[in-house]
Symmetry: C2
Subunit: 277 residues, 2 copies
């Protein structure tokens, strides 16, 4: 029940019709008795910069969820970025801290990493390959770096994108060995498809699966179907996998912690949410 | 249940803690199955002008409720004002019309007038006296003018305030006889206290009640108690009365109509609201 004491979390993007966050966060706030609400705000790109700063002057706002098309723009509008957001080159969450300054963070990759860790995979010191250096690939690479991998290979068909991402990783995590120029999965402990390959029938596989060793953990960002051809091929080789949708519910506890609402589990969220999944 | 299709009504003011509107409007939206929500937004005075226009660029906003300290400032921020808002010199509601332009209106007086009319009092052509030309007095005078009174007397201890109000009434309603300079209630059909007199013990009565004819309709804006000394004195003379709180629930249907959500009654609102009254 919204009242004059309710804390606001703005959910900014455009269009708003497919927004899922209000249907997950708000039932959870109710369930936990937390006086907060996620409010969808449809903002078109040209209107975003002028709205952004005044919004965070509201006395009852704590932060914002940021989605398309504003994730990259947000980088230049906040006061500070976490290393994850710096590496990703994008922010999908903003926290107004007690002193009024705005911190941008990026949780697209946190959902992936938390899912992997929940499946019992140790990441510290391990070797990971992320294929695709776009928004989601950069975010996953950033979160893998934050989780302490020892070697991180990033690959993109556009070499310049992978090279730029590699530079941002090295700047923030100088101790990590960063590799570019190959998508050969041989010798990696974790292999991630962060390209769109697998969305369309007939897409080629993102990497040569015959080069993935059995036991390598294989992750996927494509969500159009649960088991993509890539995941199916990996499973046939005896690899444990993570499906694309696991990222979604896994990232919400990270957001809730960021905003200071405590934490939860994907299972609790699924139990109370009004979204199927 | 808020979703990506929900229409927003911002409720702007500061502080927000005592806001009642979300507790009345939102249960009514639920009750009627209307996909809309009133969202409290705490805005301090210096931040208001910069926030105002960007807010109404949101793709899912329909309008705003405006309360202290922004009612007067809003007059200069909208594209157009209704005659009621022009006379009141203040706006407490903003509608974003289909063409994107912003219309300001003022419903503090509408609540008073609707309450009077609901009690069966005909206002067309009648003679009304409003004592007090501050915010609420100006709003009530504006709504009485809009309801078609024939003669409208306005009085304030600060004569300049009453004279300015009289000028705004005459400009918008040239056919109404506007009277200033006296608070003698003799000969009026409706007499309204729109001063704070009656809030404190020992306050003098706002007008000389011995000059009010039995049968004159007497209204009050003070809400600190149901029957103020003024209303009690009027009742003892045989006058029908309207208590201050009647304005509150009576004005909400006017707001809902303004925003295009259909209409309701104070009884239905009371039945579903989470506010006592």
């Amino acid at each position: 029940m919204i009242s004059g004491t309710t804390i606001l979390i703005a959910h900014m993007g455009y269009p708003t019709h497919s927004f899922k966050a209000p249907l997950i966060y708000n039932p959870w706030f109710d369930h936990r008795g937390i006086d907060a609400v996620v409010v969808p705000m449809g903002v078109q790109a040209p209107d975003y910069p002028a709205f952004f700063r005044p919004l965070f002057r509201l006395t009852n706002i704590r932060g914002a969820l940021v989605t398309m098309p504003h994730k990259v723009t947000t980088v230049d509008l906040v006061d500070e970025l976490t290393p994850t957001a710096q590496i990703a080159g994008a922010a999908n969450a903003v926290l107004r801290r007690d002193d009024g300054t705005l911190l941008g963070d990026q949780f697209d990759g946190a959902g992936f990493v938390r899912g992997v860790q929940r499946k019992g995979v140790e990441l510290t010191g391990r070797r990971a390959l992320v294929v695709g250096s776009g928004g989601v690939g950069s975010a996953i690479a950033a979160s893998l770096a934050g989780a302490g991998v020892g070697t991180l290979a990033v690959f993109d068909a556009q070499a310049v994108a992978a090279d730029a991402l590699a530079g941002r990783i090295s700047k923030n995590y100088p101790d990590i060995e960063v590799v570019t120029g190959s998508k050969d999965p041989d010798g990696y402990d974790v292999v991630v498809n962060a390209t769109p390959l697998g969305m369309e029938p007939g897409d080629p596989l993102p990497v040569d699966v015959s080069r993935i060793a059995p036991g390598t953990f294989v992750g996927e960002v494509v969500m159009t179907r649960e088991i993509t051809p890539f995941l199916q091929a990996a499973q046939e080789r005896g690899c444990p996998v993570q499906v694309g949708k696991d990222m979604l519910f896994e990232q919400i506890p990270a957001y809730l912690e960021f905003f200071g609402f405590g934490t939860t589990t994907p299972d609790e969220l699924r139990a109370v949410s009004r979204v199927e999944g």
